[in-house]
């Protein structure tokens, strides 16, 4: 059945090639659909990609968009196999999302090798636009440098000048710990130690006890999704914050706050690229999204998938072709503009620039109900929010 569809699609594209008007674009949304990151990306990212194609009215503009999806199970080998299969035999032009930095770094390489396009919204590692940067990748939503710069500086400014990290033991956790340590040390703080926990983890008591014993003023959680939820829940159980230590959830999504409940999550400071309740446009999008995604508001990753796919389709329309090099050049040349992130640009190293926000989780009595969780502490302007171009060590930057 799949094969038949593929043959039909190829035939159609052959026929279409003569007319030079219609372009077939196949987008593969690759992410965690069953594990600890499935709620922050998962099916929601697929819905976001579909909404982007619909809102762009791609069909009216002669672009036939088809969207496929797969579960990489947070495993680089599984993700690599799917990416190769998609590019080699299923005519996928673009892979979108890919949370879990270890998988994303693998997909980043494969995409470069096959000369396709990677719209990274889910992964955090700043290496994607640093030493592993690629002419075929756009890193859309956030990265570890931006998180460190946002939450890290804010905590140091509030007096948290000694840190202990509880770090997920893989590419993402390491990058987040590295980038945050740099921020802490640059602002005159000290890093007293770190402990690497297996990914994914369930019981964090032992690591939290080590953090408690370190006497650090701030316990930095360099993990995400289900790991962060469990760690925050257990930190409250072990009286970390009551004992005078501050907790820094360096990467926290609105879905995590929803799962924890405000009783436990209140007061946490976090850095995010998106909040559904920011303005009328984000509220309108989020209401539509929520209806299709089982009542869940969009995470910043899902918002990033929407915006990056939208920008990609605009570039395809402008070029009138889906050639990877031409479309990438167009994407970097055209300013970005979408209802979720506003106006922005894509830098030579693939880094998308937009404002980032420092939020504080509301107290239970401040919240009007489910999903009303964040109050804005500060807006970090686009030119300050991301690592300066020259400091990343990207080979594309001359």
């Amino acid at each position: 059945m799949k094969k038949m569809g593929f043959i039909l699609a190829s035939l159609t594209s052959l026929l279409m090639a003569g007319t030079a008007h219609a372009t077939d674009v196949k987008i593969g949304v690759l992410n965690d659909r069953s594990g600890i990151y499935a709620d922050i990306a998962g099916e929601g990212s697929v819905i976001a990609a579909q909404m982007a194609a619909e809102d762009f009215k791609a069909a009216d503009k002669g672009i036939n968009v088809s969207i496929v999806s797969a579960d990489h199970q947070n495993k680089p080998d599984v993700g690599s196999n799917i990416a190769r299969q998609w590019y080699d035999t299923e005519n996928v032009d673009v892979i979108a999302d890919v949370p879990t930095s270890s998988v994303a770094l693998a997909v980043n390489e494969i995409t470069k090798e096959k000369n396709k396009i990677f719209l990274a919204s889910g992964p955090a590692s700043s290496d994607l636009t640093g030493k592993a940067c690629s002419p075929n990748t756009v890193h859309w939503t956030y990265d570890t440098w931006a998180l460190a710069n946002g939450t890290g500086s804010a905590m140091v400014a509030e007096g948290g000048d000694s840190w202990f990290f509880v770090t997920a033991d893989y590419a993402f956790g390491h990058a987040l710990e590295r980038d945050t340590s740099a921020v802490v040390e640059a602002s005159g703080g000290k890093v007293l130690g770190a402990v690497r926990h297996p990914f994914p983890g369930q019981d964090f008591s032992s690591f939290l006890l080590q953090a408690q014993g370190s006497g650090a003023k701030v316990v930095g959680l360099a993990n995400a999704g289900g790991d962060t939820i469990n760690a925050v829940k257990q930190a409250s159980e072990f009286g970390i914050t009551q004992g005078g230590q501050a907790l820094a959830a360096l990467l926290m999504f609105i879905n995590d706050v929803h799962a924890l409940g405000l009783d436990v999550a209140q007061g946490l400071v976090l850095t995010s690229a998106f909040y559904w309740d920011k303005d009328d446009q984000t509220r309108a999008f989020s209401a539509r999204f929520q209806e299709r995604n089982a009542g869940q508001k969009p995470s910043m990753i899902e918002a990033g998938v929407y915006a990056s796919v939208l920008h990609y389709l605009k570039a395809v329309e402008a070029v009138g072709d889906k050639d990877a090099a031409k479309v990438m050049a167009k994407m970097k040349e055209m300013p970005t503009d979408d209802p979720l992130f506003g106006k922005g640009t894509i830098r030579a190293d693939g880094r998308k620039l937009h404002d980032m926000y420092l939020f504080r989780v509301k107290k239970p009595d401040q919240s009007k109900g489910p999903w009303d969780y964040f109050e804005t502490v500060a807006t970090i302007p686009a030119d300050k929010a991301f690592r300066p171009l020259a400091e990343g060590g990207c080979s594309l930057v001359k």
Partner: protein
């Protein structure tokens, strides 16, 4: 003050205690598996899902019916046990005369279906389960801050483990059970309803998983994947202890919790694999497990 490999003793005591607490979960879960395997010869891969059902059961009681934690401790395990009994009656009993592998496949498939069902409805991030007032807060033991919730876990699981061991090894009912495993036909000839005994045993093993789930609800995020992450470790515990050995699974559960706790201090990156390394070593030296009888 003396230090052991650069770790101050306070830290070490704290970690040992935590290891023991994690060991409590291993002990209760592996005990259920051992009871089921010992008496039914079924490798119950649904155990992780049934543990998850326990936690969700507690959550549902609280959120749908307003029934609190202390009632849940008593109400949920029997309910989860009954779901197990239904599975046993409808599906699992058809496989007793077949090879172990069929039971393993069936229970594994059931686990995937149950977890998938919950994932569809509740997502993977988990649900908040506030601990009851008695379990919030904790005590400073000098070397660590022990939350009441964790202290309760260790007490409750010790009681349940010892009671189970006592029933199976020291009572008349336990003697029937053990006899029925050895020679079901003979025991049946004495007028004892062996199929009923077997069904109830499965229900009891499953109820133990549900009990562990209720204990976990206030501590870990209540989410559909919570059992899947744990069950592999628990199987390793059962294999190390010796398949089917009641006392073996209890002691190995606590023991491995301790070892894992120590690994988290000395080499945290290795804490996810240490149990499997031990399993490999034990299997090399004693293929029937530490407490198992070789067949």
């Amino acid at each position: 003050m003396f230090e052991l490999l650069g770790i101050p003793p306070q830290v070490l005591f704290g970690q040992l205690l935590l290891g023991l607490i994690n060991g409590s979960f291993y002990a209760v879960l592996s005990l259920g598996l051992a009871v089921i395997f010992g008496l039914l010869n079924i490798i119950n891969f649904t155990h992780g899902a049934q543990y998850m059902l326990g936690a969700f059961g507690a959550w549902m009681l609280l959120n749908y019916l307003g029934v609190g934690y202390w009632w849940a401790v008593f109400i949920v395990p029997p309910i989860v046990g009954v779901t197990g009994i239904v599975l046993e009656r409808v599906l699992i009993r058809r496989l007793y005369h077949l090879d172990h592998l069929y039971g393993l496949l069936l229970t594994f498939g059931l686990a995937l279906i149950i977890v998938g069902f919950f994932r569809q409805f509740f997502g993977v991030s988990g649900l908040p389960y506030p601990p009851p007032p008695l379990l919030t807060g904790g005590h400073n033991l000098g070397f660590m801050y022990l939350p009441n919730s964790r202290a309760w876990v260790i007490v409750a699981s010790l009681i349940v483990c010892l009671a189970t061991w006592f029933i199976i090894e020291k009572t008349r009912l336990g003697a029937y059970l053990r006899a029925a495993t050895e020679n079901p036909t003979m025991v049946g000839a004495f007028g004892i309803n062996v199929p009923l005994l077997v069904t109830l045993t499965y229900g009891f093993g499953v109820a133990l998983a549900g009990f562990a789930g209720v204990l976990a609800a206030p501590i870990y995020a209540v989410n559909p994947n919570m059992g899947a992450d744990l069950i592999i470790v628990v199987f390793a515990v059962v294999v190390i202890g010796g398949m089917g050995s009641i006392l073996g699974s209890i002691l190995t559960g606590f023991g491995l919790g301790l070892i894992e706790g120590l690994t988290r201090v000395f080499y945290p990156e290795g804490s996810a694999v240490v149990i499997f390394v031990i399993m490999a070593l034990v299997l090399l030296v004693k293929p029937a497990g530490l407490f198992g009888r070789s067949v």
